[in-house]
Symmetry: C2
Subunit: 229 residues, 2 copies
């Protein structure tokens, strides 16, 4: 076994989603003792301004993201993972500048959909991710059509994300999210993608009539493979 | 609210226990949005040589721990948390040298037992933690007597810890751990302390006739308070 590459995780966006991702990274690593696991450094600065609001005209998170990426580089990381979909409107360029290999949660998910032969994918995401066209662009390149919630549906998605971030997910959120997911399937979606790392903590996939794809899980799997060679 | 202090987590010992601690840190923080959470940097190098084996004559983990602590200091951390009890045989001195304020999992737990008026505490820990006298010393200073498993019981504890680290906890482990815990209660323990961060992932506290104390939870609570002032 060659020496593993150290993975930098730009996290804290939000903290619960980073915990979820880190847990999946451990699960997705075939290890029989501590020493076989992936070496990681997690930069968890939850004070990064809201990524989605920024894309809609709020404070720019770039300086915060740059500082985190630089700290990860300085700590010896070679590979970068960012368990926040919306942040991917900003991080590819910053990772390039810092010389870190970004494993993009968007690209990994788009690859998985294409590999499964999916033609129409339902995508649940922040308003910022939608407006930046992150999934729409990546999927279009692979011939996959994106199906997104209508305006009332998007309001339910936004409310569920906020509930996870405040630690207050209630049945009203999980019910609405399942309903929005079902409506995407009704419109032809063959998969529902929880394309915001908070949503996987609020959506009960057993209530969705098509398979639910978890980008955080896909990212964890790819990162473990890249790090351990 | 004053600016929060950045917390350094020296983790990866093992990885699943660090995930568990990080999750508890998020839970123990009263926050209504990302930005109110504790800023953390987690240094998760699972390649640190086994702490318990080291205390029994194996490879010295000190250089690995020192490097992690220095990286956390360099990243801007002021407070240090280490979700590995056995590592506390090494870290207080290293934290001192680096100028980081260590919130000790041992001291926090000893404080909680003393505050509860406990006179006899059952302690489940690695053989290294036992031989280094980490809990015995801290509890003696507070007038609390430590009750530890007998030799066959300690072998069950060691097996359960190994099972968590390899992701392979089975009913045989959880049953044995509950049995060892009950025997501590039979010998007069008023509490059972899961004094190895892996054990809380394998012990079903509902099968123990006395309250089970989780040092990782106590550490998370204290760290959130220290960081957010």
């Amino acid at each position: 076994m060659s020496a593993p590459r150290m993975v930098g995780v730009l996290g804290g966006m939000g903290p619960a989603a980073t915990v979820d991702f880190y847990g999946k990274l451990v699960e997705e690593t075939a290890a029989t003792c501590d020493q076989e696991h992936v070496p990681v450094v997690i930069w968890g600065n939850p004070r990064v301004p809201d990524r989605s609001l920024s894309l809609l005209g709020g404070e720019d998170p770039t300086p915060y993201l740059r500082r985190g990426i630089e700290a990860l580089k300085q700590a010896g990381c070679e590979v970068l993972a960012v368990p926040c979909n919306t942040a991917h409107a900003f991080v590819p360029r910053l990772a390039d500048v810092a010389g870190l290999e970004l494993v993009s949660i968007i690209e990994v998910t788009a690859d998985a959909l294409a590999a499964d032969g999916v033609r129409r994918a339902g995508v649940l995401a922040t308003t910022g991710t939608r407006q930046a066209g992150l999934y729409a662009d990546a999927l279009r390149q692979r011939g996959v059509t994106v199906i997104e919630p209508d305006e009332p549906g998007q309001r339910h998605v936004t409310a569920a994300i906020g509930a996870v971030k405040s630690g207050g997910v209630r049945p009203v959120h999980t019910r609405a999210l399942a309903e929005v997911s079902r409506s995407l399937a009704d419109r032809g979606a063959e998969r529902v993608v929880t394309a915001c790392t908070e949503l996987v903590l609020a959506l009960d996939s057993s209530r969705v009539p098509v398979p639910v794809l978890d980008p955080a899980r896909l990212l964890a799997r790819r990162v473990a493979a890249v790090a351990l060679g």
